[in-house]
Subunit: 339 residues, 2 copies
DNA sequence: TATCAACACGAAAACGTTTTCGCAGCAATG
DNA sequence: CATTGCTGCGAAAACGTTTTCGTGTTGATA
């Protein structure tokens, strides 16, 4: 790398002091117009740009937001990043993206590295392992050190900080209710094991909707998919019951349900309705296209960034942690009946 | 934010000099065991961590790789990021992700900001606008300043730097050849306008395969989809011809082709074969699942990162720019006949 | 002519590190 | 006793900025 031009170099070349150059470039009144012109011309000619590191060290701020995600190859997180980036750029921040790979140790280490001066604040969606182990040591230290932190999507109550979450119970409720209203009677659900909060909450919404109309909960209509085993055969079990709808807590389970229905010669949506989750591309482009609960990843990212930047820029104020809830809506497509 | 503990503070508290503390923490032989123990104990107790900014300024390196993408909500780029991140983490680097939104001005500005000390090198996939306008000023300045740069996926010949690309011509050829070998006679192609290089190259491969078996190129079997208009109706035109296969240069065009075929009552793959591009989720989970040319986004990211880090860590060596070509393979699924 | 403000600039500290060099104290050697 | 060498530590520079404070020169005013 060629040595970049610095204030020092300009000063030496022009026979003035470093401070004069700095002031001239910032158009200080302390410097005569003549000197300013001379310095600016020189700086322009050599395309001078102040060194970020030096500024960051001096100002004790980086204008960088750290993001820690469980994974990225996931349409939802991509949209979240997009939302964060948009807000961040608008407010003059850059983003630094890291992945925990759902691994608690890597999550902790990443936090450690980033918070030693590399970022002004952190946006985190918790690693699966962290949630399973219920260990939040690394986050509590963050909070103790008063480093701005906003949790989104995968959060946990015992961490006291700002949060942005989707109303998963409400979303599960909406989805189930929609199926009921379009005439479905025996609604199965393909969900996750209980320690995955999102799946748990969506199931709770499902149960709530069923109870409300006086239907009982039939455990044979529920499966908590263990992704370490074959997914299709687990969901297939639901079809042994006499069902006319499947509520899948994510897009992939929905696509698999459709495949199974087709294989069994069932017509969609006449014989069976399928509703999925997230606004990924699968739902939109598969045929039949899949009715889904759309998740506003972009909105979530944008709001999380907004909250974080507010914290960063008002560090002295003591404001109790807030939680923002993003609600979701049903996007009706071909895999379900219309109202 | 609580004031973090620094070497200075430790020095003052323990009544030694700053240099002694620094040396003690790095286990220098110049410091007596006794003093070292005292300092280390104190540092441990207060959980001392060196400040990254200070280190970066001093060492004139950030251990950060900048990535500039045209967009992110795209399965392929997600996998590329994943690949980059993996290699980077392994080599002790962090990644800073930015988006050009396919906008030349934003691309240029981002480059400007990042290269003023924020990153050690840059990984870029060119913005659409930059390619259309053929303006590479900002990149030439980068090269002139000898800032490590690797271009991937969307590149251009007139920028002289390391590159990682996929063999699009070869991929288009393979796909077409595969269709021919499974007995297809009249193969249509849904591609992009010519200024999108990837589409252009894949079309070239398509033509090459057809020529090789003595078939002519029928322009009625080709459409360069203009995404600003309705996509489906453009692809539908192909079906006015008597075709028995569609080669789509991306996953979405493939999904749309399947939808059209279904609407027309054609059986897949008996009446018509469809082959797509990229290894996104749509192809895998739609039914029928779509045969695709899989693109190794992860590999591409990993190799690009590898090349960049090599440049960063051997700045003095003058090595001529290299181009790595990632080849792709056909992943046969349900939308095409078997060999 | 002495005083004072205004003007134009420079010196130095600060941000948090690492590293080179110098030096004091002490023991060993001749 | 004088020299040498070693041990253990501190001062200071360096990375590139910004900002506070000080200072010399000029011109105007009393």
């Amino acid at each position: 790398m060629k040595t970049k031009i610095t204030i020092k170099i300009i000063a030496k070349e022009l026979g003035v002091s470093v401070s004069t150059v700095s002031k001239a470039l910032r158009d200080s009144h302390e410097i005569s117009q003549e000197t300013k012109d001379r310095i600016k011309a020189y700086a322009d000619y050599y395309n001078y740009r102040p060194n970020n590191l030096a500024l960051q060290l001096r100002n004790q701020q980086t204008k960088v937001i750290g993001i820690i995600l469980p994974q990225i190859v996931h349409h939802f997180f991509s949209t979240v990043i997009k939302g964060i980036e948009h807000e961040a750029t608008e407010r003059g921040y850059n983003i630094m993206v890291c992945f925990s790979n759902n691994n608690e140790a890597k999550e902790a280490e990443t936090i450690d590295v980033l918070t030693n001066g590399s970022v002004d604040g952190l946006l985190v969606s918790l690693a699966k392992e962290t949630l399973e182990n219920n260990k939040f040591h690394h986050f509590n230290r963050l909070i103790h050190n008063e480093i701005p932190l906003v949790l989104f999507d995968r959060t946990h109550n015992s961490i006291e900080c700002d949060k942005v979450i989707v109303d998963d119970v409400g979303a599960g409720y909406k989805a189930t209710k929609y199926l009921l209203e379009t005439g479905c009677e025996r609604i199965a659900i393909a969900t996750t094991p209980e320690h995955i909060t999102v799946g748990l909450h969506r199931s709770q919404g499902y149960k709530k909707a069923l109870m409300e109309v006086g239907k009982g909960i039939d455990p044979r209509l529920m499966v908590g998919v263990d992704e370490s085993k074959d997914i299709q055969s687990q969901i297939e079990k639901l079809f042994e019951q006499n069902i006319d709808a499947v509520f899948a807590v994510n897009e992939i389970y929905a696509a698999i349900a459709i495949r199974i229905a087709k294989e069994k010669g069932m017509r969609i949506p006449e014989d069976i309705s399928v509703i999925g989750f997230t606004d990924g591309l699968i739902s939109e482009y598969s045929s039949p296209s899949i009715t889904t609960v759309v998740q506003y990843g972009y909105t979530m990212g944008k709001q999380a960034a907004e909250m974080l930047i507010a914290r960063i820029e008002n560090k002295d104020d003591v404001i109790p942690p807030k939680t923002k809830v993003i609600s979701s809506n049903i996007k009706v497509r071909e895999s379900s009946k219309n109202l």
